[in-house]
């Protein structure tokens, strides 16, 4: 009895293929029942996210199970032969793959944590449906342990990986927790919206939006639950905010040195963080020379993100060593092919009467 994994991800299939293969969340339990109905497959977990569709399972004959599963997916999602190249892993390779997925090493944004929750949810769905047995239970529980260990014993999560996350990380290094930080957007562009949303997701509040077209400012302010101010009035709001994101299409500087110097005199030592994502730049470079004012333009943020990505890439080797160490600790047999008769009292194959109800709560 061994485990296997079959799937596609953002590295092996374009979005057009992934969206066709994606399992609708509500349909997953039904699919699990159908997959476990395949003779060679004794238990299964479906992991379907925007970047991957993977099926993990247990089988006496993994090679045959993978063939049948490929047929099932091709038939169900109307995929022509040769149109999709599924990757197939068996035994320890399958466990190793899941461990890398749970640790964020196989993610589009290296080291991101969202996937960990998605793996947990996929397992919970399979368990609630009654489609997991000894192997999947053990495999997934171990994947959670590995994921946690990788994140706590390496620097895989350190550093920013995008302009938005760089802006948030810098804000937190200036203000600490962003709860209570006030943000102003000058120029209601897409980049401003994304950056402001990143800040809001970390606790920033009180968004003020200003734009040459007041309608657009109101639209974005409404989306971000903030307030719009007219473009000839934003200067009067400067003393109300801690973070300014500027991305207008103006051909000249909009935020000038004298303006900020004047505002800082009234801020009684409170720092001001300026994010200039406009090209040509909106904020005069000299502004960064004022005490307690920190100005970053789009190139500088991009540079931080690039360095963050490089730093994370260097961590892959360290993370893989952690996974290898975990596999050595637990033993290959324990991960991939428990011999029959090993204790635990949980059956190797889910019993028909346990289907569609949780194993842990019969």
């Amino acid at each position: 009895m061994s485990i296997f994994c079959l799937g596609v991800n953002h590295k092996t299939a374009p979005v057009e293929i992934r969206e066709r293969l994606a399992f609708a969340e509500k349909a997953v339990p039904q699919h699990l029942v159908e997959i476990c109905g395949i003779e060679e497959i004794s238990e299964a977990v479906v992991l379907s996210t925007c970047n991957r569709v993977e099926i993990y399972g247990g089988s006496e004959n993994p090679a045959a199970a993978l063939d049948k599963l490929t047929e099932y997916l091709s038939g169900h999602f109307a995929v022509a032969p040769g149109e999709v190249e599924f990757y197939r892993h068996e035994a320890v390779a399958a466990a190793h793959h899941l461990f890398e997925v749970a640790s964020g090493l196989d993610s589009m944004v290296l080291g991101e944590t969202e996937i960990f929750g998605q793996v947990k949810k996929a397992y919970a769905t399979a368990q609630t449906t009654g489609m997991t047995a000894r192997r999947m239970n053990k495999l997934f529980q171990q994947s959670f342990s590995v994921g946690k260990r990788v994140r706590t014993s390496t620097r895989i999560q350190q550093g920013s990986t995008s302009i938005g996350s760089a802006a948030v990380d810098l804000s937190e290094k200036i203000f600490g927790q962003l709860n209570g930080c006030r943000v102003m957007i000058i120029g209601a562009g897409e980049m401003s919206r994304v950056t402001a949303q990143s800040l809001l997701s970390r606790g920033a509040r009180s968004i003020i939006v200003s734009n040459r077209s007041f309608d657009k400012a109101e639209e974005l302010a409404s989306e971000l639950k903030g307030r719009a101010v007219r473009f000839d009035d934003w200067e009067n709001c400067l003393d109300e905010v801690d973070i300014i994101i500027s991305s207008t299409a103006a051909p000249h500087a909009v935020v000038r040195y004298e303006m900020i110097q004047r505002v800082m005199a009234e801020r009684r030592g409170h720092s001001l963080f300026l994010i200039d994502i406009a090209v040509p730049r909106d904020i005069e470079n000299e502004v960064n020379e004022i005490d307690n004012v920190y100005l970053y333009n789009i190139d500088q943020l991009q540079q931080i993100a690039t360095e963050g990505i490089e730093r994370r890439e260097k961590q892959i080797v360290v993370c893989r060593a952690v996974i290898e160490e975990f596999i050595r600790e637990k033993g290959i047999e324990a991960l991939a092919g428990w011999p029959d008769g090993r204790g635990g009292g949980v059956p190797d194959r889910i019993q028909p009467e346990t289907m569609a109800r949780p194993l842990t709560n019969p």
Partner: protein, 256 residues
């Protein structure tokens, strides 16, 4: 035996600092617990040193420059252990360790070259003991405020340069550094105020020069704190003043 305790404490702080630097440069995250454990070991040896010296003199062990330096170092370590986490200041210990190490190396050299030996007193004055202990604890708080000021300059420079290094991500936010600096100044001023009040209650009036120097340090810090509370000094001048004031306080120690 007392000198051995002091050497062991000094080695512990040096070891803690070296380990922290190695860990910050490594690919693996820093184990904060390890640094704290090492600081606790150092504190235990410092306490043993002070205990032995206290037994020897029959009073608070601050009878010579070496003991005063060790007492200030002990105050810095104990305040860091007590407040570092509450103030959310990671790396405060790492930045403090070189100063503690330096103070203790000077203390060891002093004791090796010219240990004045026991200096017992005929009658113990609890107000004198309280004055000395509170004043030196205040020096510990002022020392940590100076360290927080240095950390502020470091982090400000990293942010202004647009090229934050690896240490940047392990450092606390600059707002927390400034908040902690003000709280440490406050703690220091309160402790020193208690020390000065105790000085006026002593059985024998303190020496005029001693009182003037203590008063000068107290006034410098009081002015700094009140100016900040009233006018809210910007972080840079505040940090600079905290570093400068501690340098002044250290100079007065030699006079005391």
């Amino acid at each position: 035996m007392d000198e051995l305790y002091l050497i062991l404490a000094t080695l512990a702080f040096l070891g803690g600092f070296v380990l922290a630097v190695v860990s910050l440069r490594s690919e693996k995250p820093r184990k904060r617990g390890l640094n704290i454990s090492i600081a606790v070991v150092g504190l235990v040896f410092q306490s043993l040193f002070l205990h032995v010296r206290g037994d020897m003199h029959g009073r608070c062990p601050i009878t010579n420059g070496a003991e005063v330096l060790v007492f200030v170092s002990w105050s810095i370590v104990i305040l860091y252990l007590a407040l570092g986490k509450a103030f959310r200041l990671s790396l405060l210990g790492v930045f403090s360790m070189p100063m503690v190490f330096l103070f203790q190396v000077v203390a060891i050299l002093y004791l090796l070259v010219a240990d004045p030996g026991p200096r017992p007193v005929a009658v113990l004055d609890p107000w004198l003991e309280l004055h000395a202990a509170m004043s030196l604890l205040a020096y510990g708080a002022f020392g940590l405020a100076g360290v927080a000021g240095c950390m502020y300059f470091f982090q400000d420079r990293q942010l202004k340069s647009h090229r934050p290094g690896r240490l940047f991500y392990s450092m606390p936010p600059i707002r927390y550094l400034v908040d902690a600096l003000v709280r440490l100044l406050f703690i220091g001023v309160v402790l020193m105020s208690v020390g000065i009040v105790a000085a006026f209650l002593m059985k024998t009036a303190p020496a005029r020069g001693h009182l003037l120097i203590s008063g000068a340090v107290w006034i410098v810090y009081l002015i700094l704190l009140v100016t900040h509370l009233v006018k809210r000094l910007p972080p840079k001048p505040l940090s600079f003043s905290a570093v400068l004031a501690f340098a002044f306080a250290l100079l007065t120690l030699s006079a005391l």
